[in-house]
Symmetry: D2
Subunit: 382 residues, 4 copies
């Protein structure tokens, strides 16, 4: 596919999701880590404007000089910006203006891409589209966070509940110990944090093909696991106590039955569906309770081709750290991944909210161990 | 005027102000004390539904059973409610639904008022309309807070800047000492906190007819008053240092000139206009700097008929405490005023944002001494 | 008594109290508002050194140049100082050094006072001794706070429980309305905040001779008053809920019986003894529950000569604000009282911990309405 | 050496260090993570009482039933305890009582150890002594923290500055890639987190024998590294900005020269001495600035026998996570290490404050990446 077509396709997917939003839904930020839809729409556009149009289009006229300040996320090299926690304080620019901004940048991008685009530009556009796909996933999870924390539990779209109820076989995959190659070896796009192919030694291990279901997790809850400190990491136990946690995010016990908020509203928990919205501490406690453990990110990558994966981000027992020989670009784009390599855990796989063509066995996703607003799940190993 | 006409008039004034809002402007809450426009629209409606329709209309069908939880402000007697700080987290119900709610309640109210309304109902409607007028003022100041804290300083309405540039004569009013009667003695509506007519003794005093102007306050700023701890109350000085305060709210020094955000956007400060948006600590420090003091609320009331007043809420040097013989109603309506009688200072007068027919010499407004998002000003005495 | 004798007497009283302390008790600060004993010992000494010796003794050699920084409390005019919350972080200077410091300053003071002291010096010494007496009371209440928050409830002194168990008669004092003079009119020492004699008008009122007892307060507790929001000011109710308050400070229910920590350790609550350690919100809620109210500070002063008073600081319903014509000294000593005139309530009387000769009917004590570590009590009026 | 002699030796070393403390130094806690000396003395004693005497001595009489609550650190299985942040609020029990407690437990322990001690007891005593040694190091660093944050910078001991000024040769150690065995393989004591011997693959790498000196770090500071966001991890940069960090902990620039607080007081920074008191973020930024990186904990262990090590805890680029096949004991002792395996980084080596015989190449120390009150240093690799 031509890069200009790909560009259209990815950019359109962002808009398609938004067709179910009310205007009131675009601007609100309930919590620091979940940005308003409006902000995602503008920030992904800013990315193309800042890193491509301003650098590669002669005499490009920026759409609005305030937008660099408003829609830069975390690129120190790209100048000052509003605090992340304040993204939801801005009723203006209105949605109309944001769609105008997208149209303006898209028109300029198409003009550029219909010329003789050099490899450097194509690489940057590819990065920009992958960036947009990451924000498509955040758009879903951030909208879910906002609606799911509204006391009236509004339905986003009755046909889009993102509950995955067909699980994989109960097979256990056995892997022979030895030295394996880790990291992206293909020729297509990947992030800098997947590069630096290197060897790791893994001992024999077993890994479940099956992801933990809601029903299995209810057994864990009913065993009073949320009050048994011996199952928990110290940080996790502090989190449980400080927040009175007794179930995954979005779960509510109503008249003795577990329900959960989905993008189709409040539903009864489907016991056969794959568990979601648990954090690393919960995943780790569950594994402890089962007498098993989480796989490392290397075990996961080694076993990946023998596993069904791809509807949950799976917590691994690996911290997010640089591969040997990790290098990053100079300037703003070097801030994309590398600077977050502390205090985060790696997740492998992909979720029901992940954009199409945005997953691969070497992909390293990462979040703070306490977070659970992504579609996260548990795969056990030993 | 008939009560049903008054009802229509006051309710319509709320809607009129909103005609200048974009849909995006209705739902955002930037700070705990400034509620979203949507919330004001619904809460004032909830007041009529809860305290009148549910009690006085047989078989009244409530509009939506969730709304009591969503739109109760602080009435413990009226049940649970969302936290004040979370009023801005709700994109839904949408604006359309809120206007439907207003229409539904208004229709029911008109039906009730066109019957043979007993005095009790008329009294409650009168209270509800005064309540709505108070929220009309908050609607203005809360929208201003939201837009004025947006880094792009959006214009709300080019013809509505609420800058009052004609000040009064420089006359000094002299009042003879003696015993005076304080409190509301008329027969129309007043709040419970104005009742309990009682005598106070005041010594001879002088009070300025003139309110402090922006230009006069610039002299105070330029004397480096914001760095001279001897002018400030201890709490005020802590506030200045902790927040690096150096000017009134909404003021910005741009290329050496003072500007302020108004509902018509960012303007140059008009030195002849009356100062606004200062808190009690700033008012008190200014008076100290002038070798004068703020009037007490009693002095203000005694002198009121000889003063031009009514475009600023004027900080007095009186704490908000009950008058002798203050009594409050039982139940929710008893929570209206009385429970706030600690840690607040009294303001007298009325502001450019106060609704018509919503001011009188005995009116006791009150805010925390640190707040300055209302149209507050300074009158000096000695 | 000669001023040099008075000096010795007051300074010695501070030391006498300390004879019951262990060395470990001198340095700890459990909460920002309760300073370590060591700090009180040094700060009161610093007061004499800074405001008298450095100004009136030629070629006076300061004891230690660091002490100005360490032991200044809140006098901005006297230079930088450590944060109040950090007073307990300093194990050094050791207690020995602090007693050396006291001895050094005392010797210098005696030399000065044995010369021909001018009135200005005598006035400053008198202020310094009153200041020391205020810190003697804080020394008691701060030590009690530290020991009373130690889970093993150490006994300070078995003969010093400061429980006042003889209460006054149940008489009700009736005062005729009229104009009364308020403020200190004598010729001895008083604080600047008592000056500015002025008239106030008071209507007829009744005031109880009797202070509320522990037994009466237990009735209030057992009526479930701590869960009835209608009794509480809004701020008070927030405080009750946020801190799960259900009784006065230092009270513990052990096997169904109320106990309280005293300086003689944990004792059963004496139901006939006068209630202590409640804050303004509790005092106000109690009055509300009784259908009465707290007196204003003016009513208290008017009635004082007809009342038994002097073993509790009694919450009044008056905010701490300047009297008409209040003036303060220039420089540091002007910071003594005036700058605290916001967000505080006035207490009248004196407590069991108040130093001898440190009370009078015009004395205006003041604390934040939330505080209750002083020996505070309730007198009702109507 | 007999276990009873070892016991005496280690226990005595704790007391020896304390001989330089004033009584006032024992009880103060300046910051949550640095406990009072008194608490260390009691807690290490509580460990022997709780895990040995109460379980293995028939009819053992506990010294004081309150001490379990006061001196349990973090063992949930051993019952409730005071909050870590409140350890410094207790002036009592006095130091005398704590030394009595130590003597009482020591006498009981000696009696037990002079009998026919079974292996289980010897293992527990060995764990208890290693535990005491860890607290000996904390005792030093926590006392340093308290005195070093006292504005008068008291000297602890003029002969004990713990500045290490002889550094190692500048040699670069080259290690051949391959599969190596990791983990403790000896027969003496080690912690559970060192067990589970396993293989790791390491590529060729180089590691400096030399630790970074103060002088080298001054070059980093003077290159304005503390203002160059490109050198820092995102979390590190937030920490630098929020706290205005511009140098290691304890460093102060006085009249243009760098000084640092040591246990012998404030000294000029010795440029040849080994750098200390930097956190992971600073170590990582320094490596980035040098175009190198920190070693992993595995590289460190592989290279250890060719390196001079042992006077600094060296930050590695490895997160603290369980080794494959990590298992922990049931009950309280299982909480010793395992539950802390999140959000921490591994340090290898040993510091000038580490007790004798308390280091080995497989030892895994761990701290939050932000901490820097330990004697931490930097070794570079590539």
């Amino acid at each position: 596919m031509k890069i200009s077509e790909k560009y259209n396709q990815v950019r359109q997917a962002t808009i398609d999701f938004c067709s179910h939003l009310e205007i009131e839904d675009y601007s609100i930020q309930v919590v620091q880590f979940a940005s308003p839809a409006k902000w995602h729409l503008a920030h992904t556009t800013w990315f193309f404007e800042t890193f491509i149009l301003k650098n590669y289009v002669k005499e490009y006229t920026e759409y609005n000089s305030n937008f660099n300040f408003l829609f830069n996320s975390y690129y120190n090299n790209a100048g000052d910006r509003i605090l992340q926690a304040n993204r939801g304080n801005m009723s203006r620019p209105s949605i109309d203006k944001i769609f105008e901004y997208r149209a303006y940048v898209d028109a300029n991008m198409q003009e550029l891409l219909n010329g003789d685009s050099v490899k450097k530009i194509i690489d940057l556009v590819t990065l920009g589209l992958n960036h947009e796909q990451q924000h498509q996933e955040l758009l879903i999870t951030d909208v879910k966070y906002m609606l799911g924390h509204n006391p009236i539990f509004p339905e986003f779209n009755s046909g889009f509940n993102l509950v995955k109820d067909n699980n994989s076989s109960n097979e256990i995959v056995k892997i022979k110990g030895g030295t394996y190659k880790i990291g992206y070896q293909g020729k297509d796009f990947c992030y800098d944090n997947e590069l630096g192919v290197h060897q790791v030694y893994a001992a024999d291990f077993e890994i479940n093909n099956h992801l933990v279901t809601n029903g299995e997790y209810i057994d864990f809850i009913e065993s009073e696991a949320y009050t048994d400190f011996n199952l928990w990491l110290d940080e996790g136990w502090s989190w449980v106590k400080a927040n009175n946690i007794n179930s995954p995010m979005y779960w509510h016990k109503i008249k003795g039955k577990w329900h959960y908020y989905t993008l189709s509203g409040l539903l009864k928990v489907d016991e056969n569906a794959i568990l979601s919205h648990i954090n690393y501490f919960e995943a780790n406690a569950y594994a402890e309770w089962k007498g098993m453990r989480l796989p490392t990110e290397f075990e996961w990558e080694i076993a990946a081709q023998k596993l069904d994966w791809g509807k949950r981000w799976e917590w691994t027992n690996s911290a997010y750290l640089p591969y040997p020989n990790f290098t990053k670009e100079n300037g703003a784009l070097g801030e994309y991944n590398g600077k977050f390599m502390s205090s985060k855990m790696v997740l492998r796989g992909a979720s029901v909210a992940t954009s199409k063509n945005h997953s691969r066995p070497t992909y390293r996703n990462f979040f703070n161990p306490v977070e659970r607003w992504q579609y996260t799940g548990i795969r056990l190993a030993k």
